[in-house]
Symmetry: C2
């Protein structure tokens, strides 16, 4: 048995049954070993960022890692952005990077580069170049153990070609995962005191605290004590909709987030971190927690959020409380000229049971949360690391993890182009993914950001760096060029029809939503709509918000 | 003047007048500063690999660096593969990577990652995070000086947002570039002795030794002494064709390269390195120089190849020799069903004066060298670092460096998909680029490599990882979706027509050449053709080659 065959067996025995790959010559023995393991499914991507983003999306939904297969330092480089998103989302990935044979390294051939140095950016917990066929599977066990612990990590195993092709590989068993501890009594007590202080308190739920059992425990605490439930800005995976409690996500725009946090005295972190702004802005604070707010930690990412919340509910005597649960509520179907909010409305209107929503529509998806809050039960996956180009690959992985569930990916036009090659893998694997691309012919968020950083007096050259308006991309054609059924629509009626069609026909679909929304339109129309959609905010806060954002 | 404005002025004053960009929020002040410098041209890319590959292609043709503008560690990751190609090709690039404001770093926001650690992979000579607005331009001077010295390097300047927006920027002048030394007398003498030994000697020309003055000097030496002229396998930029001497490139396949080198006793390196195989193969040597061959170095990459060769010619009394110069010779126009060699033949037949050929068609382009050897004078750019996805971005950069010259990029289908977004930039900038995509629905080279690494018994799952045959990509549609005129052809006549049309109409064109060439077809048809096209090889060598490669 060669190294590659032993590694394949070690992976499969540990439950790693999907490998998202973009191989080259140095990975040919690993590729050849695929046929020795019927349980291993190999999914080919045309670009490494698709493979790594798919591994990320898969693990978010399967709750176990997939493997990747990348080609030396350059393949890893191409896959880095989506591994970054996985790292920030605490998602387990077993990242396998082929390397030159150990005896070949000294010749500094064309593809030679320092792979480990690149890998450290995304794999601080485990980077290793396996040195011998005999030791390979022991290295793999450490990689797998590191990856799937709590918090999940990206573990990078570098696999030299001769370690892979050498004979004498020995498959290894991976020990069962240790149970993660709950919050200790000291943490429970201080949180208890904070909640009982009578001050305005919020639980900020993140990571694993956004899954059903944790959400129900949190909602019981809210029902018993009046604490507010907040969710982190970019959840790795959030269970939402009918039958689950309402939870308000912290906004991406720091101006909005500050308002959401303005009246909180005690902020209790549950598998989350204290909110900071996405970027720094001249003269503005990065740390968004108000000066007079005290931050507590109920449970850290290496602790079990669900049992921690259950323990807290128990200590509060809240375990018998009736949690607020959302009843099914859908917006009506939109009509007339298509706009970005109407697309979100249609998604809320038509959302099937048990869907997976991928949200990577930074400005155009502003209404998505409101429009789907009480839609049929679903999961939502968001851009955890801010490296755009996550959504389409995530959709590939999510659809492979959950073949029976419809996946709907809402993606901005600029964003879609980073990893557009994902469409081909959707076609090849005939995945049930409906990709909705908002074509507003602009890096719309950057037009907002240009103003926010104080560079609003920018001239024509600067503004042209944010425009995608010539030539206007045609995503329906791009989809067809990769074997995906694609349509372009510019009315709400046509969008509704396309969405119904896509959801009722298996395989991948792409709907290109033409939404020529100007920045002034965004400010004039969408932000007030956001304000109207947040009736849970106190009137004083809504007033502040209106003055700050949409005067 | 803020930091960004001062940096912009420092760049322009140093002759850096093009910036290939894919900016985000942290780069908005740099973007805003574009309007302060009329001399700076900003070229937007939809993906960072396009920006870095364009900077690489630009510098190869302009002989001076462009700047890039990338967004934090993830943007750098996306751009890494083509920076690797630039590094291996010794191409100068001033790589500017925006970062969070220095005061924001401690909050570990979504996009926070260790940028320097990634940058070291491609910028061993210069990576620096600028710490203050006042010092920024001094850092830039070091970056520029490092990048454009001999050998050229990728220098990475990391630009925190607050260093960019801070007031008090001071533009700096970049000192004139020092002249690079020629080979010293000791090196000349030992090479002289080797040539005069009467043994079979070859000059292996690489880097700057593949430009006209150096080539002419080498050809004079060849004429006077009978030494053979070889070129490195993947030249950064090679001047070729009518009016220049014939030079035989070392083959990509180690089996072929070994044969080319088999009868050489003395190998003299001129801005090149001793040939090694691209990958290692079980039981095969990586180092391709025969055991009984002695390697000499005339000039290193940090020395001036042209003056070194002139000095050698002088010492040999060869400066008055008549170099062998190629007369114009074109293949006839191909006819009938389209194949990859026929595409190469058509390129040779129609090649306009002064073209730039980008060669990234690894198997399909096998005949390109032979078919264009004595075509009208042109430059050829090749895949220096082996990280595929270089060609289309290189074409963008080359066309911007040389707007009056036609650019013809020959690209494999698998390869094209890594950086297909380059087509949009070609359309936006209306570049005179004809992209020829060989659609054989396969990672064809990997089918060869699978066999070469001894994994030829691979099963169906393994082989499916190398097939792009379902769905078959439609590159003409992909081009149209990005605003580029695209056609798909499957006969030689249609290809000829499309190529003539493309070369006579300004702006970008894409020709999708349907070449369903099977691996057996490749072995049966193309390799024998290669053999027939290498008449300069001694008969004994050709025999060996036939036995090894195409039995």
């Amino acid at each position: 048995m060669n190294g590659a065959q032993a590694l394949m067996k070690t992976l499969v025995d540990a439950g790693i049954e999907v490998c998202f790959s973009n191989p080259g010559t140095s990975e040919m023995h690993f590729v050849a070993a695929l046929d020795d393991e019927p349980k291993m499914r190999a999914v080919l991507a045309l670009f490494e960022g698709v493979a790594t983003g798919a591994a990320d999306g898969y693990a978010r939904m399967a709750d176990k890692p997939a493997a990747t297969l990348l080609h030396l330092g350059c393949g890893l480089g191409n896959g880095l952005a989506n591994l970054h998103n996985a790292r920030k989302g605490k998602v387990p990935v077993v990242n396998i990077v082929g390397d030159h044979a150990t005896v070949h390294v000294k010749y500094d051939a064309q593809l030679q580069s320092d792979i480990e140095t690149v890998a450290r950016n995304v794999s601080p917990g485990f980077v290793r170049t396996s040195q011998s066929t005999a030791e390979l599977c022991k290295d793999a066990v450490e990689a797998i153990t590191t990856a799937r612990g709590l918090p999940g990590q990206v573990a990078t195993l570098i696999l030299p070609a001769d370690v892979s092709w050498g004979e004498g590989g020995i498959p290894c068993a991976v020990p069962a995962q240790a149970e993660s501890p709950a919050a200790d009594d000291g943490a429970i007590q201080s949180v208890l005191d904070a909640i009982r202080s009578g001050k305005k308190t919020a639980l900020l739920l993140g990571g694993r605290a956004l899954r059903e059992p944790a959400l129900i425990a949190a909602a019981k605490i809210a029902a018993a004590t009046g604490v507010k439930l907040l969710a982190e800005t970019f959840p790795t995976r959030m269970e939402r909709g009918q039958g689950l409690p309402p939870v308000e996500r912290i906004a991406y725009l720091a101006e909005l987030a500050s308002v959401q946090l303005a009246e909180i005295d005690n902020l209790i972190l549950v598998d989350s971190k204290a909110p900071v702004s996405f970027f720094a802005y001249p003269g503005k604070k990065s740390y968004l927690v108000p000066d007079d707010c005290t931050v507590y930690t109920l449970s850290r990412p290496d602790q079990d959020a669900r049992t921690s919340l259950a323990k807290l509910a128990d200590a509060l005597g809240a375990d018998k409380a009736q949690p607020e649960i959302q009843q099914l509520q859908r917006p009506s179907a939109p009509r007339g000229r298509l706009t970005a909010p109407k697309v979100c409305k249609a998604v809320g209107h038509y959302l099937p049971e048990n869907a997976i929503i991928i949200d990577e529509a930074i400005t155009s998806g502003l209404m998505l949360n409101a429009m789907t809050a009480a839609a049929p039960r679903h999961d939502m996956i968001t851009l955890t690391g801010g490296a755009i180009g996550q959504g389409l690959p995530n959709a590939v992985g999510a659809a492979i993890a959950c073949p029976e569930r419809p996946v709907i990916a809402l993606i901005g036009d600029g964003t879609a182009m980073y990893t557009i090659q994902a469409l081909w893998t959707m076609a090849r694997e005939q995945l049930n993914v409906t990709s909705i691309i908002f074509n507003n012919a602009s890096y719309s968020v950057l037009n907002i950001e240009l103003e926010r950083v104080g560079a609003e007096e920018a001239g024509a050259k600067a503004k042209s760096q944010l425009d995608l308006n010539w030539p206007v991309l045609n995503f329906a054609q791009l989809a067809q060029g990769m074997g995906v059924h694609g349509v372009r629509v510019d009315t709400a009626e046509a969008f509704n029809h396309a969405l119904e069609y896509a959801l009722s026909h298996p395989g991948p679909h792409l709907i290109e939503a033409m939404v020529p929304e100007s920045l002034s339109g965004l400010k004039r129309k969408i932000l007030p709509w956001v304000l109207r959609s947040l009736p849970s905010l106190p009137a004083s806060v809504t007033r502040t918000l209106k003055n700050r954002i949409a005067p």
